[in-house]
């Protein structure tokens, strides 16, 4: 849309989220929706990140804290299981890591350039509580 002229868009600066009929949106997962190019779902904020979360599935207990507290709809949960991170929409805030209750954490922040496989291979061990 970058260079569209004044005569090339909907009047009133109105935007539509979906192509065609929306159907039961609350009952349709994102991958099954027909978003238009105007839905911010089609956009990416990946370049905002300085740090990124990496998910170590092995430790995850599927508590869903990360899902509920992620401000950017970037924790992908399906069938009550945490399955990964939406790296187009994650802004790298680190909240998911803070709220993850496992020991070691199932999510940790790393520099954006970090290599996921390498980090997973050297995931920190269980911490023993001081005190």
């Amino acid at each position: 849309m970058a260079n569209t002229g004044w005569d090339e868009f909907e009047i009133g600066a109105m935007l539509r989220t979906f192509e065609g009929e929306a159907g039961d949106i609350a009952g349709t997962l994102q991958e099954d929706r027909k978003y238009t190019e105007n839905s911010s779902f089609s956009a990416s904020v990946a370049d905002w990140r300085i740090e990124k979360p990496i998910f170590a599935k092995d430790y995850c207990i599927d508590c869903q804290f990360c899902w509920i507290y992620c401000p950017d709809m970037s924790i992908i949960s399906r069938d009550k299981k945490m399955i990964g991170i939406d790296m187009d929409h994650c802004k790298g805030c680190g909240i998911c890591v803070e709220v993850c209750p496992t020991n070691p954490k199932s999510l940790l922040m790393f520099p954006e350039q970090a290599d996921e496989e390498a980090e997973l291979a050297q995931w920190p061990a269980k911490e023993t509580k001081e005190k």
């Binding site: 935007l15 089609s42 904020v45 970037s74 009550k80």
Partner: protein, 320 residues
């Protein structure tokens, strides 16, 4: 009336399909978004939404993008509530006149607005909406400051907070006025439901939102929304700050039914109550209060919070 969405636990909640999208322009770690998600995911019904000018609005509908999966409207800073009220009136009219395109739906009308848009400039509009009995919910994203315009004070800004229009300085400890009790003011409109919520207590939030959506008539919700930018804390700590706000009882969670019956809905155990000082210490906006000359203000803060908590308890007990 449609079936209320069943949300027994967080796992069940996590099967919700969000109707609010990422790649919006809110700051990393912004609590506004967490609140919006919890509110929208509390129901599967159709939604008619509005936002008043403020962070939520300017970050979620910047042409040519929208982050909203339901019909949404923004008019101005003060009138988001009335936008939804107008839409609700049209819904009623078209229902009577049998002109709804999908007459079997059961839409919920929700207006989101900041504390500036609610406590200050939009106060009269919201009061009007509450008084007239529209079937709608107004949700305040209460970050106690005009965040979108760079941190000016609002009538929700608490004493001692440094805001850009009430900055702390050599001879000032910042904001001088106490926060306005908006929930009480709205409850005294005699509306069927008003409540204070916090996104960390998602279950309490969902219960209140669902109740609010079920009742007939206007509902007012005040949601604490820690702002990483203006409260000055690290974005990763948004939930920590929310915990501190509820557990210090600076933001007690309660509901008021029919304008009078008050119930406290979150009661931390005595040993878990966090000193207000800890809540203040976690935020840059209160940093100056820790200078010797202003320490008395921290004590006064604690006394105010204690007094308010005692008051809420008395009201709950008295059932009035």
């Amino acid at each position: 009336m449609s079936e209320m969405k069943k949300i027994k636990n967080l796992k069940e909640f996590s099967t919700s399909a969000d109707r609010f999208e990422g790649a919006n322009l809110l700051c990393p770690g912004c609590a506004h978004s967490i609140i919006v998600r919890e509110v929208l995911n509390a129901t599967n019904d159709d939604l008619i939404l509005s936002a008043s000018t403020g962070c939520l609005e300017v970050c979620t509908a910047v042409y040519p993008y929208t982050s909203w999966d339901a019909s949404w409207i923004h008019i101005g800073f003060e009138n988001g509530s009335t936008a939804v009220a107008g839409a609700e009136a049209m819904y009623k009219a078209l229902k009577t006149k049998k002109r709804l395109k999908q007459p079997d739906r059961n839409p919920k009308f929700v207006s989101f607005a900041g504390d500036g848009a609610s406590y200050d400039i939009g106060f009269q509009w919201i009061s009007g909406c509450m008084e007239r009995g529209h079937n709608m919910m107004h949700v305040v994203l209460d970050n106690e400051v005009y965040a979108n315009t760079g941190g000016q004070r609002s009538s929700s800004t608490p004493i001692g907070s440094s805001a850009t229009t009430s900055p702390a300085g050599r001879v000032s400890y910042g904001e001088k006025k106490n926060k306005k009790d908006m929930v009480a003011i709205m409850a005294s409109h005699g509306i069927p439901y008003s409540a204070q919520v916090a996104p960390n207590k998602w279950k309490d939030m969902v219960k209140k939102i669902q109740h609010g959506m079920e009742v007939d008539g206007p509902v007012f919700i005040n949601a604490v929304s820690p702002c990483t930018t203006e409260w000055k804390f690290d974005p990763k700590d948004t939930m920590l700050l929310t915990d501190l706000s509820t557990d210090s009882l600076v933001f007690p969670l309660y509901e008021i039914i029919d304008g009078h019956e008050l119930n406290i809905t979150y009661r931390p155990k005595e040993k878990d109550i966090v000193p207000v000082e800890e809540y203040l210490a976690a935020q840059g906006r209160f940093k100056h209060l820790f200078k010797d000359q202003y320490k008395y203000l921290i004590k006064e803060w604690q006394e105010r919070v204690d007094a308010n908590w005692a008051y809420l308890n008395r009201r709950e007990e008295a059932r009035v």
